[in-house]
């Protein structure tokens, strides 16, 4: 939940009006664009990895272990003689796919439950809110480790655990926003016109809360990326020899003791860059909403 603490804190931050003035890394405009472009490039790299990668990411060559930068291998090789650049490019695939699944499931589930709780109120709200509190009480990382203990290592257990752990973050946020929206006059006017609750929710409530959810999801994407990489680092996530940033850092640890930094530092850099970019985009969207509402 280390790793789950950040989203909680992030939500807390956004509720503080003073933080609306906060700019992540300086000026808003160009940085936001740069972050978006970086993320687009990342998606492109992940999609085109087989075309871009100069080598097979899993091809070992023990005669070329820990080759330096430049030459045949632009970023050098790891201990097993695998090309680091190719592994980074392929690593973007698992690096993005995992968080994508986590965010998609938690966003859909959290929005559904949040709207239900916020719109219905009463016992439905009580039951849903208590259940979300319960999931909140168990840190996501711990949940994932427990699930791995039962179901074994691989992508499945960590992704399922994180999707469950992230749902209440979205759920609580949506419940709050839905309650606010519901109290607004425009909703009442639709009701007076005889629209059903379901139609109002689908056609008007959801589109109005979508930007808020999007901002939270963008930030969750970065946190999920960190959490899943951490689990791969522990050896519970994506299994070797598949290229994955977290797993690459784990494998690169011993090379550091021999003075070769790149096998571990290159994927570290990719993770930080991606997380920073998702953070900037998330805060940028949140900022825009705040400005529009003022």
């Amino acid at each position: 939940m280390t790793l789950t603490a950040p989203p909680a804190a992030a939500t807390a931050l956004r509720r503080r009006p003073g933080l609306r003035r906060l700019r992540l890394l300086g000026g808003q405009g160009p940085l936001f664009t740069a972050a978006l472009l970086l993320l687009a490039a990342l998606v492109l790299v992940a999609a085109l990895a087989p075309l871009l990668a100069p080598y097979d990411p899993e091809a070992m060559d023990l005669t070329a272990s820990l080759v330096g930068t430049g030459g045949d291998h632009l970023l050098g090789t790891d201990q097993s003689g695998r090309d680091i650049l190719s592994r980074l490019l392929y690593g973007a695939r698992t690096g993005l796919l995992g968080p994508l699944l986590v965010v998609a499931v938690s966003t859909v589930l959290g929005t559904g439950l949040g709207v239900l709780a916020g719109w219905r109120g009463g016992w439905a709200d009580a039951v849903l809110s208590r259940s979300m509190d319960l999931v909140f009480a168990v840190p996501g990382l711990l949940l994932a480790i427990m699930l791995v203990a039962v179901a074994g290592s691989g992508m499945t257990a960590p992704v399922v655990a994180m999707a469950v752990a992230y749902t209440p973050y979205v759920g609580r946020l949506v419940r709050g926003v839905a309650r606010q929206e519901k109290a607004r006059p425009y909703i009442e006017s639709y009701r007076v016109q005889g629209w059903s609750g379901r139609t109002i929710c689908l056609r008007h409530l959801l589109p109005n809360i979508a930007p808020t959810v999007l901002a939270q999801s963008a930030m969750n994407f970065g946190y999920a990326l960190m959490d899943l990489a951490a689990l791969s680092f522990l050896g519970f996530g994506v299994q070797p020899p598949t290229a994955d940033w977290g797993a690459m850092i784990n494998e690169g640890q011993s090379a550091i003791q021999q003075g070769a930094m790149l096998p571990a530092l290159a994927p570290s850099f990719c993770i930080v860059l991606a997380v920073v970019a998702f953070g900037i985009v998330g805060e940028g969207i949140a900022d825009r909403i705040a400005k529009r509402e003022r």
Binding site: T2, A5, A137, V272
Partner: protein
Amino acid sequence: MNGITRYLLGRLAGLLGVLLVTSFVVFATVHLAPGNPVTFLLHGRPATPETVAALRAEHHLDDPVAVQYAGWLGDALRGDFGRSTQYHQDVATLLGTRLGGTFLLVGYSALLVAVGGVGLGVLAALRPGLVDRLVLIGTGIATATPSFVSAIALVSLFSVNLGWFPGPGGTPEGLADRLHHLTLPAVALATTFAGLLARVTRSAMLDELGREHVDVARARGVAGRTVVRRHVLRNGLGPVVTVGGTMLAGLLVTTSIVETAFDVPGLGSLLVQSVTAKDFAVVQAVTLLSVAVFVLVNLAVDLLAPLIDPRLSLLTHGEGTS
């Protein structure tokens, strides 16, 4: 019954509920696991019908699940978590030997988070312009850096290149040497959290600095330093304590990653090893203990926050979070 008593009883009931549900989930993990619990207990040893029957009897596997759970929970409450198949030791004894390492690391790290986070936040709020900008950029990167990435960067710089601190592993002797060994792990663990706390502190300070009472204090001729200490910091402490407290709970979980990266013998690294070794009794004990501490710390923060900042009433706070 007045409001506060009701609130406290409600929170306590919620706490017990969370612990009951999670303890059942933790207990059920072995039963939900694909395959038979006996297969796990056998650990690849040859299974004669006699040994299987003996194991089933020993672990009460033929009783109804509710009875098994009650028995397990009763044992756990008395401090009996079974035996570790990995270390051939009582789990409680094993946890006892590992508790100290985690405690020291988390304590060291919490100190760094508090001093570094609040210090940087105050600095940024008081020095707008270049310093503020640098702190914002630094903390922006820090919050995006997972602990294991910090670990790698710290080891390659301060251990391998500069040789100031020992690398992963090693058996330190004496407290000073232990702290020396724990410095890099503590910094790695603290980075993300310190970055977040610095940002929370900064914005809380800026909120207070813009208030009228601060202008009034200045106009009365109160010294700048005193204004900051008595009027700004004191008033802005509320959110800092609340966020800082939840971070303490976060540190307790993230420590498993850092302990693994630095080979620190603690509860977190024990948990990771035990998952790999399918040592279920240990996994159950550590997860149950972690959730209990996590929930208790969060409750303590909620109860203590109004003492530090009386404006945060327990009642309104309770309604705000429900």
